[in-house]
């Protein structure tokens, strides 16, 4: 199984340029080359604010810009946007400020940098904040839709963008948000994933089909507010389901689906694929993901016993 792939971070600057309006700012913490916000800096130097290595102040400065009617995108690695500046993001949510956090390098996408830099907790950290929206695109088109949605919707928003390669799948333009049925071959199983885990989810889905099972491959595009009803409608009739996330299995996509299912009298059994409750280590990205729970084989092995 090989796919044409794309790293969504390569579209960060281009997308912000394309959707630029005169209320927008991009703020950087000395990583504009890695996050590709540099492309925005080149086109809009007067609306690009370099803040140096200063995540806490950076997120609060973005909040201050929002309070004056601007639309600030604070662009940084996932761990810095959400972890280093969590109380700052929390205060922005409390203020219902129009703060946009755009994160690259989620999960284990930068394998070689090791556990310190792996953003395996960002969804969990953002999910617990009232008013925060969480959008996870999986293609350049979806990234554009997510950024447009963030611009058009007042309030705090977190956009999670892959650095590692994700497969390019055929897509038709559909509204962004909630859940999206990526592929469907039957109703034995459901593979539910967030966009940055598309590679493992797709490979797992294909392996299950090769093994003779038929099911659905479902992207959750909006992790908050969580699209309970739309997702439930897609998994109600399957014999088993699995969540696949480039993230700890605690508190993220798997956590959200668990919370949803716990409120249902009857539901299919759920398994969660992702990083178990451990710190990771350095290595080539694909090897780190395979070691720490995120691969097509993990998906296959999680679902097969349920069928």
């Amino acid at each position: 199984m090989t796919y044409e792939t794309v790293s969504l971070r390569d579209y960060v600057g281009k997308t912000l340029n394309k959707l630029y309006n005169d209320r927008m700012y991009v703020l950087d913490g000395d990583l504009s080359g890695a996050t590709r916000s540099q492309q925005f800096q080149k086109e809009h130097p007067d609306r690009f604010i370099e803040l140096g290595i200063s995540e806490t102040s950076g997120v609060s400065i973005a909040t201050g810009l929002a309070m004056e009617g601007m639309i600030p995108f604070y662009v940084n690695f996932a761990i810095f946007c959400t972890g280093s500046a969590w109380t700052q993001a929390r205060m922005a949510c409390y203020a219902q400020a129009n703060l946009k956090l755009l994160a690259t390098h989620p999960g284990m996408d930068n394998g070689p940098d090791g556990a310190s830099h792996h953003g395996n907790e960002d969804i969990a950290l953002m999910r617990v904040l009232p008013h925060m929206r969480i959008l996870v695109p999986q293609s350049p088109l979806q990234l554009e839709q997510a950024v447009r949605s963030a611009i058009e919707t007042d309030g705090p928003c977190y956009i999670r963008v892959s650095r590692d390669a994700v497969p390019v799948l055929p897509e038709t333009e559909a509204p962004f948000g909630g859940v999206r049925l990526t592929e469907e071959s039957g109703s034995d199983f459901a593979v539910i994933y967030e966009g940055t885990a598309l590679m493992a989810a797709k490979q797992g889905y294909d392996l299950l089909n090769e093994a003779g099972y038929r099911g659905r491959l479902i992207q959750v595009q909006e992790l908050k507010p969580f699209p309970d009803a739309a997702l439930m409608a897609l998994i109600r009739d399957v014999r088993g389901c699995v969540t696949v996330e480039n993230h700890t299995v605690l508190g993220g996509l798997g956590g959200a689906v668990s919370e949803m299912l716990a409120a249902c009298a009857q539901h299919p059994p759920l398994r969660r694929v992702g990083v178990p409750d451990v710190f990771t280590q350095s290595g080539p990205t694909a090897q780190v993901k395979a070691r720490y729970g995120l691969s097509g084989r993990h998906v296959l092995e999680a679902v097969r016993p349920l069928l």
Binding site: Y25, I61, L65, E68
Partner: protein
Amino acid sequence: MLTAPEIQAKANENRRLIIDMIHTANAGHPGGSLSVIDMLTAIYATDVDLTALKRSRVILSKGHAVPAQYAVLYQYGVLSAEELGTLRQLDSRLQGHPCSHRLPQVDATTGLLGQGLSLGVGMALAKRDTKDPHNVYVICGDGEVNEGQIWEAATQAAHYRLSNLILVIDENGLSSSGVTSEVMDNRNLVRKLTAFGWQAETIDGHNMEEILASLARARAWTEGPYGIVMRTVKGKGVSYMENNVAYHSSGIAGELYQRAVEDLKRGEACV
């Protein structure tokens, strides 16, 4: 424009409102509210038009002193006397720390110390870029400036030469658990700000003439951000609260309330 004695009279009225609010709520931070109120009253009296959408902003980064801000908002008709009595009660706009989505006139949601100067940098950048000529005032406590984020923001404000940004540090010498310099020694704040690229000065934060002159210098300064380190007395105006760490956070009940009211009346007589 009001004269210094007129503004001082307003500040003294605000002292009484602060004491009344905290007495009714039986909780709050009287010491730091009373130390900052002269400066806060002066800023609003000289540079803030609360009826304008585009206006100078006042970020009370030491958000626990918010009864001082509520007192000012009452004076300008934003809050009613009845509403002042709802401080810290369920469904009140008068939260224990400033909450801008409930009460937009407080300008910023604060409470977690150390974040306000960064908010001010963001607001000042926006005002600079949109040619909004108003100023941004950030008021911090001297204990608060132990927070590292303050010094990140101080670096950034100087880097961008934000001459529309004015930082006031209320140096009342006491934080929650004791004498500030003993809890964590952070004296020499003017020298520190200067080293970070700011223009900065020390004033007596209870001398209205000095306060007004200092604010005028800060607004006129065009080279970058301006810091005013004001020496104040925590609990200023209420004899038993002055320089008494017990009144950092405390209700004011019974006889103590009566004594506070009498002390404040005596103080007004002096003006």
